[in-house]
Each structure stands twice: as C-alpha cells, then as structure tokens.
C-alpha cells in the first residue's frame, strides 16, 4: 500500500521522471502559493477520477473508454474550478485558464488509462495520492526556486487572522533578484537544470548499485 504511494513521489514522479503535466508546471510556478493551490486542485481531480474510473471499470465499455475518462475528469475539473471561483477567488484569478487546463493534463488521463482502469479502488486511491503529492512537491520545488531567486520573496496563503499577508521577504534577494528566473524563459531554464540534476543523481545511484 505504502509502496504505491511513494511510487508517485520518487520512482515515477510525474514531473521529473516521466515528464508529464508540463504546461501547468511552468506557468504556475511563479509563486509558491500558486504551486500549492494548483497541486491541491490536481490531487483532488486525480483522486476523483482514479476513484470513479476504478469503480466503473466494468461498466465503461472499451470502445469508448477515452471519452468516458475525459467526461469524468472534466467533471471533477469543473467542480474544482467552480469551487475555487466561489471560495478562493484570488487563487482562481492567479491560476486563470490553467485550472480548466487540468483536464488535459496528461498525468490524470495517463493514470486513469494505465492504472485505475486495471486496479481496485484502494490501490487506485493510493496511486492518485502518490502521483498528486509527487506532482505538488515537484511543482512547489520549482516555484520555490523561481520565486526566491526571481523575486526575492516567498508568497504563501495569507492568514488574515494574525495579520500575515502571505509574503515572506528575503533580505538581500528582494532588493536585487534575478528577475529572469521569474519570467517564462527562466522557468524553462530552471526545469532543464533541475532535470539534469535528477539525471545526475540517478546515474550516480545506478553506479553505486553496480
């Protein structure tokens, strides 16, 4: 059970290992709060879709399975979109079209097809959680780097009750950040460098095992 969960975080991390779900990754990684928000949304949709695809796997006919998966995924995406617009409007505005674009996020359709349609409910739920958390962690890592280096601050959820407006300023960097990292070009560079780093780790591990 636990293995299915950690699989999504390390071995088959959707972003860094299989390179799925790229579009939202780069676009929302400008601020940590956006990354977290997107991550939570994706976890919710993944859970819903994996659960229902697994529950209905005998009802869904093979011929039309992809359209069925799409309808199920799109429904959960719509639920998340409506809920966000109603109860978290600033997050909804920051994420913009990318909330609706979760429906074509290859991760979700990929898991539905590759896993949930062939496994029982419990494993599917664990898989969804693992992949979702793995995605969120990867996204947050990229956002952390980009926001700290690119704007010199970290933006989290504001907690008005204690007067925390969500921004944590980093003393030296906030005066002269490397703004390029915060721009789209910077996102591509950061992901390229990170992926190279992961490749290097992997080859070292493989070497160590030998």
């Amino acid at each position: 059970m636990l293995k299915q969960f950690t699989n999504g975080i390390f071995k088959e991390n959707p972003v860094f290992i299989i390179l799925l779900g790229l579009c939202p990754t780069l676009a929302v990684s400008t601020q940590v709060v956006n990354a977290l928000g997107m991550g939570v949304a994706v976890i919710f949709v993944l859970l819903g879709s994996n659960m229902f695809v697994s529950l209905l796997k005998d009802f869904i006919p093979e011929k039309v399975r992809i359209p069925c998966y799409i309808i199920i995924i799109a429904s959960f995406v719509t639920i998340v979109d409506l809920a966000m617009r109603a109860y978290a409007p600033s997050l909804s505005k920051s994420l913009g079209v990318f909330v609706q674009l979760i429906v074509v996020n290859c991760i979700i359709l990929g898991r539905a097809e590759a896993f949930a349609s062939k496994n029982n409910l419990k494993s599917s739920v664990m898989d969804a959680l693992g992949m979702g958390v793995g995605f969120t962690l990867a996204l947050t890592l990229i956002a952390l780097i980009r926001e700290v280096v690119g704007s010199g601050k970290i933006t989290l959820f504001a907690i008005h009750a204690i007067g925390f407006n969500g921004e944590i300023n980093i003393p030296y960097l906030s005066d002269s950040p490397i703004r390029m990292i915060g721009y789209p070009a910077g996102a591509l560079l950061v992901v390229g460098l990170l992926k190279a780093l992961f490749n290097w780790f992997e080859s070292r591990n493989k070497g160590a095992i030998k």
Binding site: I60, E62, K63, C68, L82, R85
Partner: protein
C-alpha cells in the same frame, strides 16, 4: 443487428455517464453561482467605497453618444425584437439631419440611461469604447461626481481601472484592479501614490498621456521603463474624462 448493438450499447453507456455528470455539475453550479457573482463585484465595490463614501451604487452601462445613421440602424434598430425596444431607442436618441447621425439625448434621466444601457446589453450590442460603465455619485439628490469602469490596455494585456471624476471631468482618485503588468515595473501602478500624478487633471488641465507632460523629473523617472503601462492608464483616464464631460453635456 448484433453489429448495431455493438455500437449502441457503448454509446448508451457514454450517454448515461454524460447525463449523470451534467446533473451533478448542475447542482454544484447552483450552489456556487451566488458566491461567484458576489466575488466578481467585491473588488469593484471595495474600490468604489474607498473613493466615495456612498453606500449604494448603481451601475449604468455605457452607451454610444453618437452613431452614424447607418450604424444606428444596423447595430441597434435591426437587433431589436419588439416594438417597445425600438420605441425606447428612438426616445433615447435624437436624429441630426445635418450630419446624418443619431445622438444620445443630453437631458435623459439616470433611470432612462440605465434602461437604455440594459436594452443595449439585451439586444447584444458590443460596446466599442474603453469606458464600460459608470456609477453616479449622488449627494443631496443631485449628481456630484461619477465613478467610471474603464478598460485599458497595458503591457501585459487588458487592465481594469476604476476612476472617480468630478462633474467637470477632473480626476479625484484612481484604482487599478485586474491587470497583468510586470512585477517590479508596470505593477508599481498598484502602489500608493502612483496615481497622484493624475489627480486633479482632466478638467481644465489635460490628463498627461506621455512622459513629457508630467510635471517634475521625479515623476518622469518613476514611469521610465514602464511607459506602456503608464500610457495605457493615461489613455484610459483621458477617455474617461471626455466621457464624463459628454454626460454632463459639455
């Protein structure tokens, strides 16, 4: 027959899933719709209340002040579906034979203006100017000013501006709402004090629309590097000022 069933059954199952999904979403939509509507106007209301101390606001959609008779017939009259609509249009606009134009009546009451705006929305008329709508400020039962919702074009795309005007077209206060300006550059327009350079202009003093029109060097330096944002806001504010003057019939 067998072949047909082979296609029919999956098709029906797909339809069932579709139908169930649509129903569930419809329910969720019922629940969230009111909240969403409230959120859309919240920022706007906050801006309005910060500028003027009025509690109740009415939003009047902007309508064209003058149209060529061809445009009036094609874009407005033809789109009306009932005679009442056509009659109200004819009531709100006067025909100018010399110039072959239809002009908005100058002394229309606020109620009539609101009705006209609503009518144009219903028949699907797409507003062409930057000013989207206006909110009259009423003090002692007379209009003492206007707040305008203006669509500007900035560096990163569309910007929504709420600006407060006196009846002579001069600017009282400006708030920049939705925008996609660059953080550190154009986004600075959201900070306190940025709009000070516009306050008071628009009446006798023209709204500064290029850097050189700004008074002192400090202000010019402040917008350097973000001139497109500045010009976008300035253009919008100037259009607003002209709009207010037209409503007041000047």
């Amino acid at each position: 027959m067998r072949k047909m069933l082979e296609y029919l059954i999956p098709g029906l199952k797909l339809f069932v899933i579709c139908a169930v999904a649509a129903v569930i979403l419809g329910l969720i939509n019922e629940v969230t719709e009111p909240e969403i509507k409230k959120n859309q106007t919240k920022e706007q209301e906050q801006a309005l209340k910060a500028m003027f101390t009025q509690e109740e606001w009415r939003e009047i959609p902007a309508v064209p002040f003058s149209l060529s008779s061809k445009d009036f017939e094609d874009d407005l009259l033809k789109k009306c579906r009932t005679t009442e609509q056509k009659q109200f249009l004819a009531y709100g606009y006067d025909f100018d034979g010399n110039n072959d134009t239809y002009n908005l009546k100058k002394d229309l009451s606020l109620d009539d203006r609101e009705k006209l705006g609503a009518l144009l929305k219903v028949i699907g008329y797409k507003n062409k100017g930057p000013v989207e709508s206006y909110f009259p400020v009423i003090q002692n039962q007379s209009v003492s000013g206007y707040a305008l919702k203006i669509n500007g074009n900035g560096y990163g795309g569309a910007m929504t501006i709420i600006a407060g005007y006196n009846t002579d077209g001069s600017i009282r206060d400006v708030r920049l709402l939705d925008n996609s300006e660059t953080p550190g550059l154009g986004k600075k327009a959201e900070t306190e004090g940025y709009m000070d350079k516009f306050i008071g202009t628009g009446g006798d003093k023209p709204v500064p629309v290029i850097k050189n029109m700004l008074g002192d060097q400090k202000e010019i330096d402040a917008v350097t590097g973000a001139s497109i944002t500045f010009m976008g806001i300035a253009d919008a504010l100037r259009s607003g000022s002209d709009f207010v003057k037209k409503i007041e019939g000047k």
